[in-house]
Amino acid sequence: MKAMRKRHSLLDAIIDAVFSRPDTVAYPFGELQLPEGYRGAIVINPENCTGCGLCVRDCPTGALKLEKKSRDEFKLIHYPARCAYCSQCESSCVRGAIGHSNALVGATDRPRELIVVLKDKKEGED
């Protein structure tokens, strides 16, 4: 056996593999553990967003859109299917309003999920 092991160095690895547990997760049935800093879905803290448009200017894919009527009336929209989850909007926003959560964004066949209104500010609102 020893001589065989020496000749076939893979044998040890094969024996180990027989007795070890699988490394894969049975997603979507098993729990998927994503690291804390995983760049997932785009989220906003609406209180901090002033509609300055810095994130829209720097977004490399055009996944953000700002419909601005006035300082007090604007709409910030995110299109998840265009987004590259690159974190540029987070870096560009000086007010720390926009960023990633660590939620996985899957494919969807529901058109409603392809347009996310991050902030819809009407005149007179905070």
Binding site: K6, S9, I14, D23, G37, S91
Partner: protein, 360 residues
């Protein structure tokens, strides 16, 4: 014996990326071949001129799905040189750490592909399992497995927390043990040696004639590595052992990559040990002064070169990228002319093609 031409590609199970080849055979002997490429040309160089420098970093990250970080690093180094800004030392160390981790995962991926082509599926499973650890480290610190979005002009986008440093150290320790197992297999496994030793040897002269770089050049005894020959900080403070082998055959190319993986893991440990404290980014102006610059880095497959010309606006006037794959590809017809039909996958896998990089 009659000559037969076999068309392979652009889409073929042997290839991971589209490439078209016509291989001439007579019986079991391969007589030669011709190549056609450009199937994944996306016009990235042109597209960079239509976007701002800030946006270009993310576009350039998508030139390659394996060595994405080294591309953005080389680009950012060029822009920072034109801007005349100094990147904080901690950011330089994080950049280098990501570069080395990328080399680890790229080489392990490649070792797996080669093992699969020579019929050693077990090694394929094990190397790809180990590669997952390297990807986990990178995902843990950057938030992405492949597109790390680590670089921005002026530094890096994230810092390493003490907990993350512990996680990286632990995983690197595990990886080191696993890589030495893989090394043992490459050195001792008779099946692997039989399929690779003496297959398609390339002489050092041929390597120089075709300007081949990276592990393929080092496997033929050509001592080139930009981490030592033209280092950007912090590589100038590191002692990089450049590994070369004299044989030049498919086995040497395999062994080189396994040894380089081990060396990269050692460098990761050194980088973590020496990592200075401080900020990870400085503010960079959006408009880049007029001028041109050339920057080079050692990617997993060899030298990556970026030429950048700025006209003083916030968009580059011209960006030219040179990747290592094209030079290695031009060597392919030469290599194909000396082998048997059964060796074709070994030779193709042996040069570690990255068509997406080469076509851009």
């Amino acid at each position: 014996m009659d000559k037969i031409s076999i068309p392979i590609g652009p889409h073929h199970p042997l290839l991971k990326e589209p490439l078209s080849m016509r291989i001439d055979i007579a019986g079991e002997r391969v007589l030669g071949g011709t190549l056609r490429m450009g199937y994944v040309h996306r016009g990235i160089e042109k597209m960079t001129a239509q976007r701002t420098y800030v946006q270009d970093v993310h576009l350039i990250e998508r030139i390659c799905g394996i060595c994405s970080h080294v591309h953005t690093t080389t680009f950012c180094l060029g822009v920072e040189k034109l801007l005349g800004i100094d990147v904080p030392p901690r950011a330089q160390y994080i950049r280098a750490l990501m570069c080395e981790l990328e080399r680890v995962h790229s080489h392990l991926l490649w070792l797996g592909i080669l093992s699969k082509h020579v019929g050693l599926e077990t090694v394929f499973m094990h190397t790809w399992h180990d590669r997952e650890l390297a990807l986990d480290i990178m995902e843990g610190i950057s938030g992405g497995r492949v597109s790390h979005a680590a670089n921005q002009i002026g530094g890096v986008r994230f810092d390493l927390s003490p907990e993350q440093e512990v996680m990286v150290k632990e995983n690197i320790g595990k990886l080191k043990a696993q890589v030495s197992g893989v090394l043992g297999v490459i050195e001792n496994e008779p099946a692997l040696r039989a399929r690779t030793q003496g297959v398609a040897p390339v002489s050092a002269d041929l390597i120089r004639d075709y300007c081949v770089v990276g592990p393929v050049a080092r496997a033929s005894g050509v001592d080139v590595d930009l981490r030592r020959d033209d280092p950007w900080p912090p590589y100038d403070q590191l002692d990089v052992n450049v590994i070369t082998r004299p044989e030049g055959d498919a086995w040497a190319r395999t062994l080189i990559r396994a040894l380089e993986t081990r060396e990269s893991l050692r460098l990761c440990e050194v980088l973590l040990r020496q990592m200075p404290e401080g900020p990870v980014t400085v503010r960079a102006p959006r408009k880049v002064p007029e001028g041109e610059v050339v920057t080079r880095s050692e990617a997993p497959r060899g030298e990556v070169l970026y030429y950048l010309r700025s006209d003083g606006s916030d968009k580059p006037a011209r960006l030219k990228v040179r990747t290592p794959t094209l030079a290695v590809l031009s060597l392919l017809p030469e290599q194909l002319s000396k082998i048997h039909v059964a060796d074709i996958p070994v030779v193709l896998a042996g040069i570690d093609l990255c068509i997406a990089c080469a076509d851009r």
